[in-house]
Amino acid sequence: MKARVHVMLKNGVLDPQGEAVRHALGAMGFDQVEGVRQGKVIDLELAEGATEADVTAMCEKLLANTVIERYEIELV
């Protein structure tokens, strides 16, 4: 079993890297870009029997810092 975890800064938390990417895209002429947020994708290879609850615990304890980040779990 595999799980994919998406970690993004929460709305309202400044993302200076996303802003830098937005500026660069604008400078390249992609003026249709109104905002960029950059995050992380973490792929987990899990043993049989692992549950979504296990992955949630991993996110809460380590993979995301819930003070500043939100996460989504995708089981694949």
Binding site: L9, P16, Q17, L62, N65, V67
Partner: protein, 222 residues
């Protein structure tokens, strides 16, 4: 008076911090991150600057899960003193010992220079050697020192007089110019600037000395 300085793979201010403690009169134990307990009789734990675990995942995130950090959390829960500087501040927020988080600098650049810091409160073992309102000069050296906490947490920090230091000129985007904060019992300090790098005349500044001296004054056996 005994201080323990935690050493992670990638710590690089551990020895500077040990020297600063020693100059103030502490005996210092260096404690490896894989140790599960602190030496007996430790009065204060120092979590040093550096790049623990290469800043992988998030600065301080992996270090916060190390065996010694559980012992540090127990020490602070018992009312023990601790100071986290730079990466050490990041580790203390990642463990939840201090509130908030340190984000990437707003300007995206690593910043290494001496900055002006305003002492916001002299009401702590760390800051009683200064007067509230003093402006001191300490070096910063970080890429992720942009302090973030939600509105509710910021209001609490202000109401409880727990903001220890603010930047005279905000270098990194920190909310409310925050450079250092105290725990609810005022016995844990986290700060991005480096007092241990301004604790000897050879450093080009000694404004950090008063912090270690004040601690020694509080922790000296009565």
């Amino acid at each position: 008076m005994r201080a323990a300085v935690i050493v992670f793979p990638g710590s690089n201010c551990d020895r500077d911090l040990a020297v600063a403690f020693e100059q103030a009169g502490f005996s210092v134990d260096m404690v490896w991150h894989k140790d599960a307990s602190l030496p007996e009789g430790v009065d204060i734990v120092g979590v040093p600057g550096g790049f623990s675990y290469g800043d992988y995942l998030r600065c301080g995130a992996i270090a916060a899960q190390s065996p010694i950090c559980k012992a540090v959390a127990q020490h602070t829960e018992r009312g023990g003193y601790a100071v986290g500087i730079c990466n050490g501040f990041q580790v203390l927020t990642e463990t939840g010992i201090l509130p908030g988080a340190l984000l990437r600098n707003a300007g995206l650049k690593y910043i290494c220079r001496t900055v002006g810091l305003k002492v916001e409160t002299s009401d702590s073992a760390f800051t009683q050697g200064y007067n509230a309102g003093d402006v001191i000069g300490l070096p910063i050296a970080h890429h992720d020192g942009n302090y973030f906490a939600d509105d509710e947490t910021l209001a609490m920090l202000k109401a409880e007089d727990r903001i220890a230091f603010t930047y005279a000129e905000n270098p990194n985007g920190s909310r409310d110019d925050i450079a250092g904060i105290l725990s609810h019992n005022r016995r844990v300090l986290g700060m991005m600037p480096h007092p241990e790098r301004a604790a000897d005349s050879g450093h080009g500044g000694t404004d950090g000395t008063a912090l270690f001296r004040a601690l020694a004054g509080v922790l000296a056996p009565a």
